[in-house]
Structure formats: structure tokens, C-alpha cells
Symmetry: C2
Subunit: 229 residues, 2 copies
């Protein structure tokens, strides 16, 4: 079975959250080690989702980002006016796509149904895709499964909404943790290297233990591979 | 409050189901009064959704169309081979957009977040939008509320997924029955005249009793209206 649809992780895979948010922090006029603040903010994300999952009430990224930002600012002894914090949280809607993403998604749409599959909520993804002028066929989100990746239900919900068996879906992500569950479900894992995601600091390696893993350096390269055999 | 997002009904409002399906029927090589068959098929749709709603298990358009087609063929004393019926059901994915729709949606995207809000399921809408090369910011469907329009929950789910209050949402449809509930919820009703939806037979009038109703002849005209005051 070959993939007929590709699901794309968004933060880190399609967009460069780090440099965009550091720039937003610096624009705010408050003196701080913004790269360190932003990195800590992003690191707080997966544990925060875990806590929400345990609590059983689904919450969107704006709410989670407000909470984690407030912790991180405290740790960095930063006291921002509320409008500056609000602007940073809204910054997750204005993240630059990696340069290959816009042309890559357009080329991949010729061959595949394309959709996001992000832990971000639909409204945030809509704004983000509009900001980057990124075209996909559907905006799918963990919100539609009321859980978060890597919960298998999120990936299965994506396939279900596209009415495709897992074997006809590929999951595209820059993070190994986001490929293991879909691969276990029978989806095709596609790893995109994003060496600059953390500003040049080491990033995780492709999960080479996964059968059928495809590794590319860009979405344009993925499109040029042709049919995934 | 002015609308920040527009939700679009699809069948009849964005695409011309009738002429496309009549052509699909005629291409099948079976002698029949295809316009009459297709009209009866479409007429069977709302009562079928009502029955499904009463039965409480949500079902997608492919399943509903299969069932209603089989009834309609029987009434018309037509016996089609299963592959011909299947092709007709798949025909709901290959419906021509009205000529104003592609440019109108692009122009409206400049000013509004745009999304479908159809009783069709997400996978069918994705195929249909790809077929017509129609670009919207999100593919929303009654499927995501596990109900059907005109159940208010479907419209509210659309607004919820876009994180907008009802007052900041406009509902665009060619059918009065699809505007009354959203208007009662505080959404802005926009009626698009589609005089050819039923091949020139009378279509329903705009629901002029609704406060703030906007009536246009095309999506291009809607875009040219500028801000809905």
C-alpha cells in the first residue's frame, strides 16, 4: 500500500518557532536572554500536554502557552506587562515557515491529499497557515480527537476523517517521538531533518529502527522522491 | 460586531450538483430521465438526514447516498450494475463549482477566514475542493459535530473550532433553511442566489425576515461589498 495522504506535524516541521518567537520577544523591548526563554518555553510544552491529558479536560494551545510562559518568566526573573505576554502567546500564530515548506506543500498536493496533524488547535493552525500562505487540503488537529500526539487516537482520528486505512497515510515530522506511534499503527513514517530547529543545538536523530522510514532534508526533496514505494 | 470568518454551505451554494450528476448519469450509458432521477435523489437527502439524526448514529454522505440512490432507482424502475451506482455516488466528489466560486473564495480570503460548513463529511469535501481547485482556510463539516445542519450544534461547532463568537461569523448559503438557525444564534446570514440549482425550476427565496440578511448573486459580488457593516 502506498500513502494517498500525508499528515504534517507543524511546529518545528513546517515552521521555525524559535527564531520567530525570539524576534517577537526582542521586539517587545524587554531586556532578556530571549533564546533561552523561548527554548525553555518550548521545552515546557510536552510535559504540560502530559499534565492536561492526565486531567482529562482538553485545553487549547493559547491556554497552555499562557500557563507555561508564566512559569518560564518566573524562572527567568522576568516580569512582563500582560499585553507583552499576550503578544508572545499570539506569536505562535506568526511563525515563519522553513523556506522549503510553501513550494514543497504545493508540489506534494499534486500527488497526495495533504493535511496538518498538530497538537495546536484548529483556530491557531488556520491563522498560522494564513500567515505563512501555506496551502493544505485540510486542517486536522489533535483537537478533533480531544487528545494530544503521541496518543494513537490522534493519528487514527486523522486517518478516519480522511476515510483512509492507516497503511495509506504517511506521517511527516521532524521528531522521532511523533513517528513511532503512527508507524506502529501501520502509517508510513517520514522524518524531515530540521537541524536549525533549536538554533543549531543538537536535535533528535531519525528513528532508524522504524520499518519503511523515509528521511529527507526538505519537503521539496520529499516531493521529488515521487511515489513512496 | 462584523464577521471575521465566513462559513460556506457547499452543495448548491458552491457547486452545481445537478448538471454534474446528470452528466455522470448520462455518461454511464444507461437510458433514463437523468435530470428527474438526480432531482429525486437530491430531494431524498434532507429526509434521509432526518432519519439518521433520529437514529443517533452519525453516517457519512457515501453511505446515505448509496441508500437513497437505491430507493430512487427502484422508483424509476432502473436496474444499474453496482459499479455504475458506485460511480454515481462517487460523482458527489466531482461537482463543478459555479463560475464565481473560485475567484470569489480567493477574494473573500483576503478579508475573512473562510471555511466550509457542509453536511458532507470531511473526506468527501476534501476531494470536492481538490476537484474544483477551491481554496478555503479550513474544511469544517457537520461530521465534526456528529449531527447535521440545521441542528444549531453544527453551526456552533464551526464557530467554536474557529474560536469566534457567533456574532463574528457569517453563514453563506443558497438555502433559507440553512440560514435561519445560524441567524437565531447571532451569526450573519448571507444568501447567495443560485437560480440554476434545480435546472431553472423555482428555487427558494431569501429569508427576508432575518435581521441583517445580505443577499448576493455571486461570491464575487459578496467580496466586492467590502466590510459587512
Amino acid at each position: 500500500m502506498r500513502p494517498r495522504a500525508l499528515l504534517f506535524d507543524v511546529f518545528g516541521t513546517l515552521v521555525d518557532w524559535r527564531s520567530s518567537l525570539v524576534a517577537a520577544g526582542e521586539r517587545g523591548g524587554v531586556e532578556a536572554d530571549w533564546p533561552a526563554v523561548v527554548d525553555d518555553w518550548r521545552r515546557a510544552y510536552l510535559p504540560a500536554l502530559e499534565r492536561v491529558r492526565a486531567g482529562r479536560t482538553w485545553r487549547d494551545f493559547d491556554s497552555i502557552h499562557h500557563e507555561t510562559l508564566s512559569d518560564v518568566l518566573q524562572r527567568h526573573h522576568l516580569d512582563l506587562p500582560p499585553e507583552t505576554s499576550d503578544r508572545l502567546v499570539r506569536g505562535w500564530r506568526e511563525l515563519r515557515p522553513w523556506p522549503d515548506v510553501k513550494p514543497g506543500l504545493l508540489a506534494l498536493r499534486e500527488r497526495y491529499v495533504t493535511a496538518t496533524l498538530s497538537n495546536g488547535h484548529v483556530a491557531l493552525l488556520v491563522d498560522l497557515l494564513r500567515y505563512g500562505d501555506l496551502r493544505v487540503d485540510a486542517v486536522l488537529s489533535a483537537e478533533l480527537a480531544e487528545s494530544y500526539k503521541p496518543d494513537p487516537r490522534v493519528y487514527l482520528r486523522g486517518a478516519e476523517l480522511l476515510r483512509l486505512p492507516a497503511a495509506e497515510v504517511g506521517m511527516v515530522a521532524a521528531h522521532a517521538w511523533d513517528l513511532r506511534e503512527p508507524a506502529a499503527l501501520g502509517m508510513r513514517p517520514v522524518f524531515v531533518r530540521r537541524p536549525d530547529e533549536w538554533g543549531g543545538a543538537p536535535v533528535n536523530d531519525p528513528p532508524t529502527e522504524l520499518a519503511g522510514l523515509v528521511v529527507v532534508d526538505s519537503l521539496v526533496e520529499l516531493a521529488e522522491l515521487g511515489e513512496l514505494g
